[in-house]
């Protein structure tokens, strides 16, 4: 009986959604909004020139990846809030699972795993760092890079019975978060707006371009990696 009512309720919900499709644009035929056009042409303040890869320079924001320039430059304050939400949830996990000792299982991990982690872990960490250093040129950025680093830490937990995350992760996390706000405050002092892009932005497509965008993304990468590794470490504790 319960299943029948649940099925009816969800079917009604799906019907409601399908009926309200008429107010949405047709799939694949969306019009670019004015705001999106301004973000793509990097001209929020009104100088309308088309951007060309490898030639345009000294724009408002020199990142070749438009999604990165939205996340870290135009809507950076929003990202600061999201990072705070992530910090709060990691803090909640740490408070709820208040453990001190690392849980052990009393047997040696797999020999093949132990040996191969010695080869794989530096490569995984290197790949994570590559993803967030090149966040303004290629797909990727601080959020996936930090997640990859946390996955490397998980591999270390699986392969080593004694490894326990020390206070270093909390140190890295708190300093990366504070430096993000410090970068914003320097922008406030120089340009008059919180988190303004105050460095020269360079040529679109160079590694050293886009002003504060790579700096902020590197900080976000460290912060997300430390937080998610902290979550994994909390789940491994007992107490």
């Amino acid at each position: 009986m319960r299943r029948v009512f649940a099925l009816l309720i969800s079917l009604g919900l799906i019907l409601f959604f399908v009926n309200s499709l008429s107010i949405l644009p047709e799939y694949g035929n969306v019009e670019l909004s004015k705001v999106s056009n301004a973000y793509i042409n990097k001209s929020v303040n009104g100088n309308n020139e088309k951007v060309k890869f490898g030639e345009s320079k000294d724009l408002e924001d020199g990142a070749a990846n438009v999604v990165t320039s939205i996340v870290v430059d135009y809507r950076s304050f929003d990202t600061l809030g999201e990072v705070t939400v992530l910090f709060t949830s990691a803090l909640g996990v740490g408070l709820i699972l208040h453990g001190f000792k690392r849980k052990t299982y009393g047997r040696l991990p797999n020999f093949i795993l132990r040996v191969s982690v010695g080869i794989l872990l530096p490569l995984i960490l290197l790949f994570g760092v590559y993803v967030f250093v090149h966040g303004h040129l290629t797909p990727g950025g601080g959020f996936p890079g930090g997640t990859i680093i946390a996955a490397g830490i998980l591999l270390l937990y699986l392969s080593n019975e004694e490894f326990d995350l020390s206070k270093t992760s909390k140190f890295v996390e708190s300093y990366a978060g504070s430096l993000y706000i410090v970068v914003g405050l320097v922008g406030l002092a120089i340009g008059g707006v919180f988190l303004i892009n105050f460095l020269p932005t360079g040529v679109v497509g160079d590694l050293f371009s886009a002003g504060i965008v790579p700096i902020v993304y590197i900080l976000i990468g460290f912060k997300v990696g430390a937080e998610l590794s902290g979550v994994i470490a909390d789940l491994y504790r007992e107490g």
């Binding site: 969800s10 799939y27 909390d234």
Partner: protein, 113 residues
């Protein structure tokens, strides 16, 4: 097309929350709804025949899909795993108190007190 996929996935998630009795299944249903809504938001920005919103040597001038929904979803995914970890840790504490995760048994144990 993708609209219908995300609607049906949302419906499945609601059905799971209404019928299942284990608390872990609630988390699984919420994650399914999360994924479905991400797919829906991304599909609102897709334009047929246009390209990935990155200036590169293959697309030197702008011929892009809408980058704004992608920027919104990018952070939402990572927030999703954070809240999921918070929910999972709450479930661990619930299990330590009641020694079960079935909703009805928890209600019985609560009523007996």
């Amino acid at each position: 097309m993708v609209y219908y996929i995300s609607f049906i996935l949302i419906g499945i998630g609601i059905y799971g929350i209404l019928t299942q009795k284990n608390l872990f299944k609630f988390l699984v249903s919420l994650t399914i709804i999360d994924t479905a809504i991400n797919i829906f938001i991304i599909s609102l920005g897709y334009i047929e025949g246009k390209d990935v919103p990155i200036y590169s040597k293959y697309t030197p001038v702008a011929n892009f899909v809408d980058p704004l929904p992608q920027a919104l979803v990018l952070t939402a995914i990572v927030i999703g795993v954070g809240t999921l970890a918070l929910g999972a840790s709450l479930l661990v504490r619930v299990y330590e108190k009641y020694e079960t995760l079935e909703v009805e048994e928890i209600a019985v144990k609560e009523a007996r007190k």
